[in-house]
Symmetry: C2
Subunit: 121 residues, 2 copies
Amino acid sequence: MDEPRARLSFAALSQETRLGIVRTLVVTGPGGMAAGAIAEKVGVSPSNVSFHLKELERAGLVAQRRESRSIVYSARYDALADLVTFLMEDCCVGHPSVRASLNERASCRSTSPASDESGTL
Amino acid sequence: MDEPRARLSFAALSQETRLGIVRTLVVTGPGGMAAGAIAEKVGVSPSNVSFHLKELERAGLVAQRRESRSIVYSARYDALADLVTFLMEDCCVGHPSVRASLNERASCRSTSPASDESGTL
DNA sequence: TCCATGTTTCAATGATCCTAAAACAATTCA
DNA sequence: TGAATTGTTTTAGGATCATTGAAACATGGA
């Protein structure tokens, strides 16, 4: 992930409504959710959710597909992982101090439960 | 890390100059760098770097200390690690798909080279 | 056609960013 | 001590960008 894209992603996640949308879509899974349902879930108007979804798509954090009448949005897990990687490797320059802090928390387990009820991508 | 703080951090990193400052300070190490030196390094005016440093401090990403005449700024590695953790665990809700993407890249190695010559930018 | 669902446009408000000048703080030296 | 120097912050201003709700527009299904 290049820096401009990363900054676009950071800007996208710095907005309360957009962060809420991303979290909703991540939990929802690859199946995604229609724009209207997202609006209801996060409690904003359809036009507002449309605006923010466009912003999230510009940042590459969500994908859209038409499904009958609805346009269904889903989280792009690869892009989110890209962003985590950028934050660690490029922004933090893979600094040992950050690595150390992360390892202390055991946030990276090689033995993931891999409970795939929300599906693989 | 709570969500408002995380969003503040994302907003801070979404700005080109501020991201440059953070990267510079991360590479510099715990010793830090005086505000004037940072301004010269990233190529902005002293007043401008002061403005952005204040913003970064508000987000908790940098710390400052007076050293003789200069005010020396340094990266807060714990806060950066907090942000990485938030992005993985809270924002991405610890989703297996993100974990999987990260593990594939072997971004989390317990045996880091730990070459701390504060390398190339 | 009619209705439901999404999207776009628009104008207003508010936030952010930058430059330059002035103010402030701490140190050095006469 | 007191003035000059160095380093940093604050302020003022104007420009640019982001955010919002309302309303108009487009599209797919009954």
